[in-house]
């Protein structure tokens, strides 16, 4: 018998007021696999990630993460999720170390782990500076630290390498890449980069699933239409 999928969506619908942002989206992601979600701005990628992160409620359909139904069992999965979105979720007047210590305490993680993740992204030297004084790339590295601090089983990554230079990308990529061993949902405006990382590809067009397939079977024209 196949193991249950880490993430399962069935007929997912989400509206904001009159506007339907996700319509009847279904997908299944095995544990340890990477799903790349492609689509232009406003296609519903970030909304999908926020629903999976338990920050938004679906209006219809079924969502299961790590076998737990959302939103009813949201509390049970939060400890095992990591969301890296457009906002780093860091307080600008606190230092990187203070921010990460705060997150470590919220997640019940030993404070020593903060030093490990800072070391991993090459930010120990700058960790005592207020976040508002750091470059966007450095803030993104701290955001990655926040996400991996509690060793999540599911990584929800919205443009994770944005603002990072090649050197920083090399440091960060293994932490949130395939080597992390986590199930990953990845969005990117760069379809080629996303396809290279993915085991499955979901194309979103106007909130609908235009296709869900393996990267090798992706119709290049269909991808082109998503961004047209």
């Amino acid at each position: 018998m196949d193991p249950p999928p880490a993430i399962e969506l069935r007929g997912l619908v989400r509206r904001f007021g009159e506007r339907t942002v996700l319509r009847d989206v279904s997908a299944s992601v095995p544990a340890g696999a990477t799903l790349a979600v492609l689509g232009r701005n406003g296609a519903g990628k970030s909304t999908l990630l926020r629903i999976l992160a338990t920050l938004l409620r679906p209006h219809a359909g079924e969502v299961r993460v790590l076998g737990e139904a959302l939103p009813a069992r949201a509390f049970a999965v939060r400890a095992r999720l990591g969301l890296l979105g457009h906002d780093p979720l860091l307080y600008r007047d606190l230092s990187g170390r203070e921010n990460l210590t705060y997150h470590a305490r919220l997640h019940g993680v030993a404070i020593a782990r903060v030093e490990d993740v800072l070391e991993a992204v090459g930010m120990r030297e700058r960790a005592d500076e207020p976040v508002r004084l750091l470059s966007r790339g450095m803030v993104q590295r701290l955001a990655v630290c926040r996400v991996i601090l509690h060793r999540p089983s599911v990584l929800l990554l919205d443009e994770p390498l944005a603002n990072l230079d090649p050197a920083a990308t090399q440091l960060v990529a293994p932490l949130i890449g395939r080597a992390s061993g986590a199930t990953r949902i990845l969005t990117s405006h760069d379809p080629q980069a996303a396809l290279a990382e993915a085991d499955l590809v979901l194309g979103l067009e106007g909130g609908r699933a235009a296709f869900l397939t393996e990267p090798g079977r992706v119709d290049r024209e269909a991808v082109g239409r998503l961004y047209a």
């Binding site: 338990t54 979105g85 307080y91 997150h103 993680v109």
Partner: protein
Amino acid sequence: MREERAPGSWRTTITVLRKDLLLELRGLETVPAMVLFALATLVVFHFGLNRDTVDGQLAAGVLTATLLFAAMLGINRLFVAEREQGGFDAFLLAPVDRSALLVAKALALFVFLAVLEVIAVPAFGLLLLGTSLGPPLLGLIAMLLLGDVALAVIGTLVSAIAVHTRARDLIGPIIGLPLLMPALIALARGIGPLLAVHGSSWPPARWVLILALYDVVFALLAYAVFDFLLED
């Protein structure tokens, strides 16, 4: 090494409170503004009433109004960092009891109000009060602390509602002032006799009980509804 379970409510409360106090120490945005506003209000009362001193119920009204106006500044700013810097999402992503955010924010506001009063009440004594603060000091502190609980609990609840709206600077006072009115009346009536010439040293029990009861009722109400305010 990772600990096996999520932090308890009290530990989460302390974590959020510590972060809020640290943010205020770094930014000095809220408490100095509250103190400045209170001092300016006392000066306006001093000249507006055209009296060198006030006492009794008039003094209680002046002090209560001054503290209320200053408190509204703190209430309006209570969730600003959470809204502008992603603090809400960060908290909601953690496997913690959401009520801890209510308790931590109410405690932070309570601390801000206490610091405000440490400066504003002596200033009130110097600028306006026609009687000594010495004899009724304990009773005054007790009533102010009960008033602070009402301001902190209702203020946190209102601020959590207002922060998600577009007109948040208006919504806070519009919802908050009517809800706070009974507590403020009890506070003013309670401290009036303390500030009278040859007044009593302890507030009337009736107003102490009313204020305490109001605190308890709103603390329970806030605890019951706060989770729903954090839902999308």
